[in-house]
Each structure stands twice: as C-alpha cells, then as structure tokens.
C-alpha cells in the first residue's frame, strides 16, 4: 500500500507541472508563485509526502486539474455505479461459471459440454469492448429492447445512488454486466473444469468409488468441495480484474462510474484523479486479498490445524 501511495505521490509531484495545468499557462508569474505557496510545493519532499498521506487518510485527494472539483467528491459520486456493476458481474461470473464448470468437468465428453466449451472459448478470445459493441448492436439497435448507454433512473439512499430499485435502472444494468462478466465467466468455467477433471482422477476419489459411495455423492460432495478451493483464490483476483475491465465497459456503455473517470483522466493527464484512483483500487485489492486469505484459512483444515505427526 505504501508503495502505491508513494508512486501516486511522485506522479503528483514530479510529473508535469501541476501549477501550470491548474492556472493555465498564461497566468502571471506572481499568481503561480502564490498557488505554489498555497499548495505547499516549496516544502521539502518528505514533508510533502507526509502531508499527502495525511490527506489521503482523511479522504482528501486534492483537486482535479481538469474538472476543477474535489477529487474525493468525484469519486464518491462515481463509486456506487462502478461497485454495483462489478458486484452484479461478479455474481454472474462466479455462479454461472461454477455451475457450468462443474457440469463440463463431470460430463467430460457430452455434446452439451463441448458446446459450452466452444462458447466459453469465444469469451476468452473476444475483447470485452467488442462484446459490448456487439451486444449494443444486437439489443439496442436491432432489437431495441435494452438501453445502450447510461444508468437509467437512480434512487438516492443516503450518499449511495442505486440503480437496483428502478426498472430502468435494472434494465440498464443488464448489458454492461453481461459484457463485463463474460470474460471472467469463461475463465471460471475453464478453471473449475480443469480442477474437477484432475480431482476425479485422484486416489481418494478412486478409494471412495471402491467403497461403493454413490456416483452423485462422489461428484457433488467429495470432488466439489476439493474443487472449490482454487475458486476462492480466483474470486479475489476476479473482483480485481472486474474493476479493471469495468473501465472498458464503462467506456463502451457510457456508464458513469470510476472507470470512465479514470480513462478521461489518463487522456487529459489529470494527475490527481489518476493517483486517487490508483490508491482506491490498491486499497480495494489489498482488502480483497486479506478477505480471501482469511476465508482460505477457515475452509482448508490443513492450514488451520497444521499439526503433523510424521
């Protein structure tokens, strides 16, 4: 985390001249000096860094160069949109992914399995933006049943603007979340399938069969439990990837989330937003990793009770 903060900070300071961007190149020399003083840019580096950290912890990320607004406000505004999108996509990807993965792992050679596999392959080969465009073309332009941009109507719950509670909100959610989840879903399917196939060839499964345990119990109880462990690790990385890919999806669908904000920031070299985004995202990643580690601990007894009498 500290590393990320430092990188953001250095960006902030050493890259380009923030004052120039903010006041415009034409501003007089005195004006620039004034701003510099206010921003504390004349202080030595370590003071600036600690101030930066202090600010960050309080949620103050500075002011956007381009949009001339408080970055923290911008983020707070955009975050619900992204988080809702990511949440729905994650749910879709994992639930459907696991179900299909288990199915294709158990019924290795059936026709249905092969169809699922081919389709999943498409999911990996199609860049997200192409999927988005295709879906828009199909459902919005040709069929006209789903909106091609925006979030629909939102309901304000405290500071959180949610699209879950309106029909148009939900409708607007469909295409982007499908687009976003497709890539991850196919990844999950292939992972679960590979795991299941490998597990079904282990000795303990063979031993279970030798004891006469029924096939269904073996497949859905023994094999599945073992197979889910890597899925948990993947989920952590999943959410991270989804947040990243949301940048693309939000661009295609003009979804007003953090991703769109970030892309524009990169385009306009709007450093405060970039650094703020990086810090936010890094924070979310670290949290997720931590949660995954803890979950792992509770699920795998080998880690929990490492008493081995050899």
């Amino acid at each position: 985390m500290i590393v990320v903060a430092f990188v953001s900070f250095s960006l902030f300071n050493f890259v380009g001249d923030p004052v120039n961007s903010m006041t415009g190149i034409d501003a007089s020399y005195e004006r620039q000096a004034e701003v510099r003083e206010i921003l504390g840019l004349n202080d030595p580096v370590y003071i600036q860094f600690s101030r930066f950290l202090g600010n960050v912890v309080q949620g103050d990320f500075g002011i956007s160069y381009q949009l001339k607004r408080e970055v923290s406000d911008l983020i707070a505004e955009r975050m619900p949109a992204t988080l809702e999108l990511v949440f729905v996509s994650a749910l879709l990807a994992i639930v459907i992914g696991v179900i299909l993965g288990v199915y294709t792992g158990i019924h290795r050679d059936s026709f249905v399995s092969n169809v699922i596999l081919v389709v999943s392959l498409a999911g990996v080969s199609l860049p997200t933006f192409i999927i988005g465009i295709m879906l828009i073309y199909l459902f919005s332009v040709i069929l006209g049943v789903l909106p091609s941009f925006g979030r629909g109507e939102v309901v304000q719950l405290g500071f959180w603007a949610t699209g879950f509670l309106t029909v148009s909100g939900l409708k607007a959610l469909i295409l982007p979340s499908v687009t976003l989840s497709l890539f991850q879903m196919t990844y999950v399917i292939r992972l679960v399938r590979a795991e299941m196939m490998e597990i079904l060839q282990t000795d303990y499964i063979k031993f279970a069969r030798a004891r006469g345990i029924k096939k269904n119990a073996i497949n859905y109880k023994h094999a599945l439990k073992n197979g889910l462990i890597p899925v948990i690790t993947i989920t952590g990385i999943n959410i991270g990837t989804l947040i990243a890919f949301s940048i693309i999806t939000e661009t295609v669908f003009q979804w007003p989330g953090m991703g769109l904000l970030f892309i524009n920031a990169v385009y306009f070299v709007d450093i405060p937003i970039m650094s703020a985004y990086m810090i936010m995202v890094a924070f979310i990643f670290v949290m997720i990793n931590f949660i995954v580690d803890i979950t792992y601990y509770f699920i795998d007894p080998r880690i929990r009770l490492k008493e081995e009498a050899s």
Binding site: T202, F207, G212, Y297, D300, R302, L305
Partner: protein
C-alpha cells in the same frame, strides 16, 4: 429353516472368489498391451492369497479388475469373476452394490487415499450409511469401534481429526477400518505396506492376519516383497507379463519353485540369515548364473593409471548434527487455535560419528526419518551441517563458515541415487550425461579420448555402446541405474555413496545391480557407503554397519556380528521384524 441351512451349506462349498479366463488389455494408439491373459484362480474364506510378480506383471490390474476399477483405456475383454457364485462381469449394478459391502479395498499409498478435507468421522459414517441401514448415532458408535479394532488409541477423540493429522501407519489403519466397515467377506490389499517402515509394516500385516481369522475373511494381498509373502500368505500366485506362471501353497512354492520365474524370484531374494558372496541369478532359460568377477575394469584402469591400494581412513564424521527448522509462516495464523503450531524444528542428524576406510563397504541402515539420506547429503555438500566436522583424507570438508570445500574432494566422492526415473536428465542423451563430469574435470580432453572413456564406462556397467546415443526414457529402471553408476565412475571416485540404489527395482534386477556394484568395488578398490532400509541387502553388501534411529547412532558393528548378536534394543527389534523368506522354508 432347511432352505437357509442348505444355502449356507452351499455357500461354504463354493469359493468366495472365483476368477476364470480373465483377459485384460489396454488399447493404446500404437498397439494393444495385454495386461493379463487367461488368469484363473480361486480364494476361500479364511485364506490369505498372495499375488507376487515384478512390476508390469499385471498383479495390480487383476485386483482392480475384480471391482471394475481399471484405469481407462484398460478393459476386461473376456473372462468371468464370481463372488459366491454371482457373476460380476457386465453386472454394473451388482458391482456397485458389492463395492465396500462385500469387497473391501486397500490401496498402497495412505497419503493419498483419504480425502484431505473431510474428517475421519465423516468418511467412516458416510461409508457405513451407504451400505448399512444405520442411523447417525449407531454409525458413529460403529465407527469408533472400528478404529479401536484396527488399533488406534483414543478412538473417540481421534475420530474428529483430519487425515493429515495421522502418521502414515495410522492412516493405513484408518484405510483398513474403512475397508472392513461394512462387514465385507473379501479384502483386496494392493501393496498395502510398501510405503511403510518395517516395524509398521509388521503391525499392519499382523492386523490383517488377525482380521482374517476373527472375521473369517478371504484376503488377497498384492506385493512384490517375497518376505511378506512368506510370512503372511497361505497360497501364492506368481505372475509375469500378465500370465500366471505358477501358483500353489506358499510353503511348497517357496521351497520348491518349479517355473523359471518363480525360481528367479526366490533365488534373487537376499538371504537374511547368512552372508553370501554374490547374489544368485537365474538366466532366462533356467540355469543358475555363476559368473565370476568379469575383469570389467581392466581397460579403464589402463586409461586412468593404476592407483595405490592403501587401506587408510578415507572418511570421518565427528559429532555431526543437522537441525532443520521449518520457517513456515503459517504459525502466524494460530489465533489461539487448540493445536499448537510452533515453527517445526527437526533434528535430522544428532551427533553422528563414524569412520570409513578405503576398500570397505560401510552400511547406514535405518527407517524413514533416521537421517541416513541427510548424512549422505552432508558428505556431498548438498546440505550444510549445523555442527560437527567431516574429514575426507584428513582434510576438513567444510570451512569455518560452514561452506562446502568442493576442491578438497574434487570428484572423488560420488553418489548414486534411489529413483532411477529422476536421476537422469530426460533431455540429455546418455553420452552427454556421462561425459559432463568428465569434461568438467578434464577441460581439454580430446574428443577421441572422451569417446574412449565413454566406451570403457558403458562397457563396465554392462550396457551396449549404442545406448550412448539414446535418451533415458528408452531404458528400464535397472538400466537407468547402470547409467547412473557409469556417470558416477566417470570422475574416478574413491568413495561411492549409494543411497538406496535398488529400493525402486524389482528383486531380480536388484540382484544384478548389486552384483555389479560388488564387482566394481572389488576391482577399483572403492570405498562404499551403502544406505538402505532393507536389512538383508545391507547384510549382503556391507562389511560394517551403522544403525540409525531418529538421527542417532544406535550401534556400529561388523555385519555378521550385528546380525548374530545385536546389542541395541532397536537393532534387535529391526532384525526381529524384518520379513524373512526363510521363515517358511
């Protein structure tokens, strides 16, 4: 009443298991491998049948076939398998019913047989409830009883544990408990003790014999160990290349083997009660090979130059200790859990001292965890000792910073390893494998001289010169060990360390390789450090023996004296417990 009595009478007359004309094949894309051909035998209740044969003979396949668990693409092509006169073939329903209920199976590796994520309790109860009509409480009670029956103390508490919390031997007991949980009539055990130490092996085999008597079971044991056969089985079947070459009463067969294969097996087994000069071999046409030392190394001694044969002290270990501490970070997650997880500290080698003289063979014997392999690694610089001194030729091998001084022993200490499948780099041709050490020590060797060396070496180990241009995977286990020996000899070592060199080989191949080692040692006046857990082999190979337990030296003696007069209680136990083929003759 009469009908039932009649039925049970009939039952007692028919065999428990009757296999007839069993044919199993594995169709691969190149050819169809015949795993078993026209196999026929019977097994009665209260009887222990052993199936013995070298690797690839098809014994495991037969066992798997009975409950129809052959790994695909293998399949039974014809034949009949009857349990109490019920035909099993093509009757998937019946087989499903019988698995676990009438037939209990025990696999070889206790580490991988149990599902690591489920408690022992759950695995037992699940099995019981699948076949018997018991509610949870009754099933639980029965499970605890079973664990007690197989000799697990504190069963009520231990049933709540997970598999990894048991040691190897205990795990195998759990596996046996699972196998007998639904009151089967037949138990099939596929190499049940191969992965276990001698003392544990003995216990497990006694347990099986016990159960057979108590419950009137029929038991089929598959093994490659003749000692086990001698001590445990009533009847035995000898298999080779998928065919039954001989079968009959165990005592009969072992005292008087008729077929060549059986004779070869019996005769190659290292005797446990005396020392012989060389291991006996049977050639394929049935005659005993009495070859004398073949003067193998004449050529290479010419090339290398003769070496003086003194009998000086070559190697000395003094107070060597090695402590492994497991710096695992898992202990961070203790969270005050009920089981303590301190960083694991293992004292692999504890104050070990011994000497080795030129021309002699010193044996290091002990079970797993005795530290014998670690000692070998310390001598060759693969592992650093925590304490103590190692002297080669009176020079210390480790400097004050505990760094291995390889120049002190340059190429004079060599090693051959246990696993023939990982001791040769699969991507190198044999000639490159053997020439690498030569080129390392003789940087400017001409290519013709190199080739001469290669030819000499490959001749010594008894392999063809064409082998030089092939890859390791084209050779069998025994041949690969020979290549390893050639590689080891390439630097003209004075000390050859053999770390379980034949433990992975079939008994007749073992005899050949050990004879080779003996011959080479004689002619080159090599000192040998021979490491093994196999007492009969150690007896045959070594002049003196060091017995190790948990890293501590129990006893150091001349071999014959050790076997005739063991002093240390551990040594006495080891000797008592080792499976002896002579026990039955």
């Amino acid at each position: 009443m009469d009908e039932r009595r009649l039925k049970s009478k009939i039952k007692n007359k028919m065999s428990l298991l009757k296999v007839k004309n069993l044919n199993i094949s594995y169709p691969t894309r190149k050819e169809t491998i015949v795993a078993s051909k026209d196999v026929e035998f019977t097994l009665e209740r209260g009887e222990i049948l052993g199936i013995v044969g070298e690797s690839g003979s098809g014994k495991s396949t037969i066992a798997n076939a009975i409950i129809n668990l052959i790994d695909p693409p293998g399949e039974i092509t014809s034949g009949s398998i009857k349990i109490d006169n019920d035909e099993l073939r093509d009757n998937e329903e019946l087989i499903q019913e019988i698995r676990g209920k009438k037939i209990g199976f025990v696999f070889q590796d206790p580490q991988t047989s149990l599902n690591p994520l489920f408690k022992i309790k759950d695995q037992l109860i699940e099995t019981i409830q699948t076949h018997l009509n018991l509610d949870y409480q009754d099933a639980l009670k029965k499970s605890i009883q079973l664990l007690e029956e197989v000799g697990i103390d504190n069963a009520e508490k231990r049933i709540e544990d997970y598999p990894h919390q048991f040691s190897g031997g205990m795990r195998q007991r759990v596996v046996i408990a699972l196998a007998i949980s639904c009151e089967p009539d037949l138990i099939i055990a596929d190499e049940p003790t191969t992965a276990l130490d001698v003392s544990i092996q003995h216990q497990i085999l006694e347990l099986l014999k016990d159960l057979t008597k108590k419950r009137n079971l029929g038991v089929m044991i598959i093994t490659h160990d003749m000692g086990v056969i001698a001590e445990t089985t009533d009847k035995v079947i000898v298999m080779r290349h998928g065919l039954i070459v001989e079968q009959g009463d165990t005592k009969e067969l072992l005292t008087n083997p008729k077929s060549n294969e059986a004779r070869s097996l019996v005769i190659s087994v290292p005797p446990t009660n005396k020392k012989i000069d060389r291991f006996k071999l049977i050639s394929p046409d049935g005659k005993e090979i009495t070859s004398d030392s073949k003067n193998l190394t004449k050529d290479i001694i010419k090339t290398w130059g003769a070496r003086e044969n003194t009998n000086q002290k070559l190697l000395e270990l003094s107070g060597v200790t090695k402590i492994f501490d497991d710096k695992s970070l898992v202990s961070n997650f203790s969270f005050g859990s009920k089981n303590e997880t301190a960083a694991k500290v293992v004292k692999a080698v504890d104050n070990v001292s011994f000497e080795l003289f030129e021309g002699e063979t010193l044996g290091l014997v002990g079970e797993s965890g005795s530290g014998k392999s670690t000692i070998a690694k310390i001598i060759t610089g693969l592992v650093r000792p925590t304490n103590g001194e190692i002297f080669y030729n009176n020079l210390s091998l480790y400097n004050s910073k505990r760094k291995y001084q390889i120049d002190k022993s340059r190429g004079q200490v060599q090693m051959i390893f246990q696993d023939p499948y990982s001791s040769l780099n699969p991507r190198f041709k044999v000639r490159d494998i053997i020439s690498e050490p030569i080129r390392l020590f003789q940087k400017n060797i001409s290519s013709s001289e190199l080739t001469k060396n290669l030819y000499d070496l490959i001749d010594i180990v008894g392999m063809s010169r064409q082998s030089l241009d092939r890859y390791p995977h084209e050779f069998s286990g025994g041949q690969r060990q020979r290549i390893s020996i050639a590689r080891a000899l390439a630097t003209r070592p004075r000390l050859l360390i053999c770390d379980e060199p034949t433990s992975a080989l079939d008994v007749s191949i073992q005899a050949q390789v050990l004879n080779l080692l003996k011959d080479i040692q004689d002619e080159l006046h090599l000192a040998m450090l021979f490491i093994s857990h196999d007492l009969p082999v150690i007896r045959q190979m070594c002049n003196r023996i060091v017995v190790l337990k948990n890293g501590i030296v129990c006893e150091t003696k001349e071999s014959e004296e050790l076997f005739n007069n063991p002093e240390h209680p551990y040594t006495q136990e080891l000797i008592r417990l080792m499976p002896k083929i002579e026990s039955i003759i």
